[in-house]
Symmetry: C2
Subunit: 355 residues, 2 copies
């Protein structure tokens, strides 16, 4: 029995046994052979053994070849779920995972979620890869000295990253949001709203993301001809101290004279500290002190807090493009938007008050 | 060449060509054969053709048999990502997806995320299943007339559900949280805190989850000897009207006399409406009007709102148990906890104030 295959690269091939051959040889239906392959627990032992014997004898394999298998099935990519990152990043990672799933090309992408041991993430990447279930990875929550990009490059595994690979500038397979541009936009918005002393509440220097956002604040002030040294600035390592840091920051800004005072924050959680501090000293956010957060979380919506919004759905679509579309070149840096609410509007009649 | 295999159900088998046989026959290294199988684009065309010819001639397949393949690889389960559900349920679904990934047994479970067309979810289930990438599904966000459980049962596909399958009471492969018990606990907590008129802000009758939570409120009142008809009750279809509904509810409760007034809500977003309404009429949450939400979202933490917390990590572990542990019998109904904050504590010195 010889058949001609339509492979472009191979010539004439040995015919391979089909599921019909196995069914005929074992005297069972095609469905039973399928059950033996896929749900052996549902097949009676003697039948299972008989079919299995014919499968082995005929050299039947459900896939013609691994190469054809690869052509048939959609690609799958691994996505690391990291609970501390998912908590720390105010649901941006959750939102990214949802949008990445939604944006998956219907016949070209599955997403496999896996959770590494935080002390040894590479083992989980290696295991997920060798399990054969994924063809590559989508990284998020990139950081300095991130062991993942160099390892993936060394293993020649395809990947794309949501977030810059800060210490490998030659790498271009990433999409990120220009946080500095978002903060600069917030500074300009506050100036337009009539605030002239605009402080910064961020994280200690040394985090790429935090430094990038702070740079946007300083640039915004310079562009407006404002003195970067005059406004107050605070940083918070421990989020439990956000309210205290916010209170001292607001107090210092107010000491330069009432009114015209605003604070831009590196996150909505820091902005929450400012909102509380403003209320503690008997003032009203927006009316007395402008406040802007970052990430436009549900907390921002609940507090009527103006916040910088990352275009997460666009980032997810871009990530798939960088993985699958050879025409799309990286890196891609997306501009965030500003969601304006009562906390940065001086006239309280133009927006609803906070809770 | 004959070798003895260690299969329990099959006897002596034909020896199968190994990767070493193919490499020797084609005169290439083992790594090259591996590349042909996994990364054919990296292999020069003449080599690719030669190796492919030997693979076909020797009947080599990288997997000994589909059955052994199944024994080797971990199971994979599909999880539907449904953006509207993820938005509506205040991140409980995001949290469940994260915890489900974390709780996956390291050698027995992968999680494949997929996003169906909302108008035709079954097609995506069918496609994900026939792609061969998953062995079953974890459902969430179950609803009345949910087409998924009957279809999966008919297809004999393993699945477990986070959330009761309300209209198939005979089905036991679910884990859920006893929302009614959580609300009853909230009512008892409010009574202990000194509130004696406890209203309810929920959704219109007819949603299983909402009705279950409301039942907990009514039961709690009865257990305390309080009259269910005396306190006010409101429901909100459109969340944009939550503040208005909350305001009329609070007004009605206060009309029965000041003090001792509290409202339990079916969600944190409804509780946010109550918090705003309380402040709008010049009162202080907790001190003047007790407020309790449901789901303990980041919004609850930000607003200092007492809220019912679902044990999502435990639900995720239980879901894996129901899928993989034949000893564990379903259904499993878990008790939620109450996270107590300033909004339900009458003495403001015992808890920090809201923002």
């Amino acid at each position: 029995m010889r058949v001609q295959t339509d492979g472009l690269r191979s010539g004439e091939r040995e015919a391979r046994a089909t599921i019909v051959d196995v069914a005929a040889a074992a005297g069972v239906s095609r469905q039973t052979v399928s059950n033996v392959l896929n749900r052996p627990d549902r097949v009676a032992a003697p039948t299972l053994e008989r079919v299995q014997r014919e499968i082995d004898r005929l050299g039947f394999t459900p896939h013609v070849s691994a190469q054809q298998l690869r052509r048939q099935r959609a690609s799958a990519f691994g996505f690391e779920v990291n609970p501390s990152g998912h908590r720390r990043m105010g649901h941006i990672l959750d939102e990214f995972l949802v949008e990445l799933t939604v944006a998956a090309p219907s016949d070209a992408g599955h997403l496999v979620a896996f959770a590494p041991d935080p002390d040894d993430v590479l083992t989980a990447y290696r295991k997920t890869l060798t399990s054969g279930i994924v063809d590559g990875f989508v990284l998020a929550d990139t950081r300095t000295d991130d062991p993942r990009p160099p390892w993936l490059i060394e293993q020649r595994v395809p990947f794309v990253s949501f977030g810059r690979v800060w210490d490998q500038p030659e790498l271009t397979r990433w999409v990120d949001v220009d946080g500095g541009a978002g903060v600069r936009q917030a500074v300009h918005h506050l100036a337009t709203s009539g605030y002239s002393r605009i402080g910064w509440l961020g994280w200690p220097a040394g985090s790429n993301v935090g430094d990038d956002r702070r740079r946007g604040w300083a640039e915004g002030l310079r562009e407006l001809g404002l003195d970067v040294d005059a406004p107050a600035e605070e940083s918070v390592q421990d989020l439990d101290q956000a309210t205290e840091a916010a209170e001292s920051l607001v107090t210092r800004l107010l000491a330069q004279g009432r009114g015209d005072v605003a604070v831009v924050c590196a996150s909505d959680l820091l902005a929450l500290g400012v909102m509380r501090a403003v209320r503690h000293v008997g003032l009203v956010p927006g009316v007395d002190v402008g406040v802007v957060g970052f990430d436009d979380t549900e907390v921002a919506a609940a507090l009527q807090l103006t916040s910088v919004r990352q275009p997460v759905a666009e980032a997810a679509r871009t990530a798939w493009g960088l993985l699958l579309d050879p025409e799309l070149e990286g890196p891609v840096l997306l501009d965030p938007d500003l969601t304006v609410r009562a906390s940065s509007v001086r006239d309280p009649t133009t927006a609803a008050g906070g809770p």
